[in-house]
């Protein structure tokens, strides 16, 4: 395609907001807070899958944790009626992501799968996306991380190791999506079926609180789950249109 054609095609396709409805997939995760026990299996699964570095005590003390998915905890009430609620917080893959617009070099943008991408080797490290993200789920590599040998043998070859000065965040395990698409192509399928892909956190969740799928597929589990009346978005008032849907915790009172 020459430049003019590309310009015309781009203009036609993308001149309106909401063009993401034309995307291939709209990967969505639902998190049932009524099921979540806060056990942290998803956190470790993510660390193992995505080569998330071991930060070390000193750096953690400085507040430089690295957890693409983290368990937030909120207390309510006082003893003896104190309650503790957990909420797994990860990149929401917002359709109207504030982080995307601010990146000066387009290292983060919305791709054809409805994913909020982060291209590590394009990142120049302005960290603006982390400021713009109201969910605080972007993590910065403050230095080159190190694995004590032979821990580095565990590193996932499908995920790159990020260098210093680069922002990183949850990718919905794009390497698994990529691999699933690869297998689908081998089988001669154009589209993935529900259940073909599970990010590491979803795969590991012992209470099955996490669900993952394509919300464009109305037969998918995640579609049903996100149309549950308990569904809500965290910080919905910011209108970031997240792709992570939470299901409200059910609070029953003793009758």
């Amino acid at each position: 395609m020459n430049f003019i054609d590309r310009f015309v095609a781009g203009w036609a396709k993308y001149r309106k907001p909401g063009y993401y409805e034309d995307f291939d997939y709209a990967w969505t995760m639902t998190i049932d807070l009524d099921r979540c026990s806060g056990c942290g299996a998803c956190v470790t699964a993510c660390q193992a899958e995505n080569n998330i570095p071991i930060v070390g005590e000193e750096e953690l003390r400085k507040g430089r944790e690295m957890q693409w998915i983290r368990i937030e905890r909120y207390w309510e009430g006082e003893y003896p009626n104190a309650k503790l609620k957990f909420i797994p917080m990860l990149c929401q893959h917002c359709d109207a992501a504030p982080c995307e617009t601010v990146c000066p070099v387009s290292a983060t943008y919305h791709n054809q799968d409805g994913l909020n991408t982060q291209i590590y080797n394009r990142c120049i490290g302005t960290r603006s996306c982390a400021v713009y993200c109201p969910y605080e789920v972007r993590y910065f590599n403050y230095y080159d991380h190190h694995w004590d040998a032979p821990l580095e043998q565990q590193l996932n070859p499908d995920v790159t190791v990020r260098e210093k000065g680069v922002m990183e965040k949850c990718t919905f395990c794009v390497q698994r999506i990529r691999q699933a698409k690869d297998h689908a192509k081998d089988d001669g399928r154009r589209r993935l079926r529900d259940g073909d892909v599970q990010p590491a956190c979803v795969q590991s969740c012992p209470t099955e609180a996490l669900n993952f799928g394509d919300r464009k597929d109305s037969s998918s589990k995640v579609y049903r789950s996100m149309h549950d009346p308990r569904a809500y978005h965290v910080l919905e008032e910011l209108n970031t249109l997240p792709s992570v849907v939470y299901l409200k915790k059910v609070e029953t009172h003793a009758d």
């Binding site: 395609m1 291939d24 943008y109 791709n111 054809q112 799968d113 994913l115 991408t117 291209i119 590590y120 080797n121 394009r122 499908d158 995920v159 790159t160 190791v161 990718t171 794009v174 390497q175 990529r178 690869d182 192509k185 081998d186």
Partner: protein, 179 residues
């Protein structure tokens, strides 16, 4: 009293020339290195000739690089595989003796990578072969090379140009190739 800048420019000319020559030298040196010592043709532990194998004897690429069809990496043949033929063929040539030495010591051969992509690139041989891309498109006419050299720059522009030309589905999506 003179107001013209010409005189001053004249005075400055030698200094400017030196700066200019240095800059030109810098560019020349840079390109000389890139052109004459490109590192695209590293020396290998065994002088394996693709010309003899793939060219003269017409052994298909995927006879040895057996995984290209089904894996992300094409793979190099195991020493075992080499010895499969060279138990019989050309056993007394010096290079084959080198091979046999490795085999006898049960040591792997430390081949030097010619076509190397950065760690952050996800490139799968499988999909490209499934799409009918010739090996030579990226690797150059290997069957004519005695020593393999890297012909294509293997930069992002090259990938993009081909993806655009062939209108690959989501071929320009960053996460198609970056990981």
């Amino acid at each position: 009293m003179s107001v013209s800048i010409i005189h001053t420019l004249r005075v400055l000319r030698p200094a400017a020339t030196i700066v200019l020559v240095t800059l030109l030298g810098l560019i020349a040196g840079f390109y000389a290195n890139a052109a004459f010592f490109p590192g695209t043709q590293p020396e290998q532990p065994i002088n394996f000739s693709h010309r003899i194998h793939a060219g003269d004897n017409e052994i298909p690429c995927m006879y040895c690089h057996i995984q290209a069809r089904r894996s992300i990496s094409a793979g190099v043949p195991s020493v075992n595989k080499c010895m499969g033929c060279h138990n019989e063929i050309a056993v007394d040539r010096p290079q084959i003796r080198l091979l046999a030495n490795y085999w006898d010591a049960k040591e792997p051969i430390p081949w030097v990578k010619v076509h190397d992509l950065p760690d952050f690139v996800h490139f799968t041989h499988k999909r490209h072969i499934a799409a009918g891309i010739e090996c030579q498109t990226c690797h150059g006419p290997v069957e004519k090379m005695d020593v393999v050299s890297r012909e294509a720059p293997l930069k992002m522009g090259l990938c993009l140009a081909c993806h655009r030309k062939n209108e690959v589905e989501h071929g320009t999506d960053c996460w198609t190739c970056h990981k």
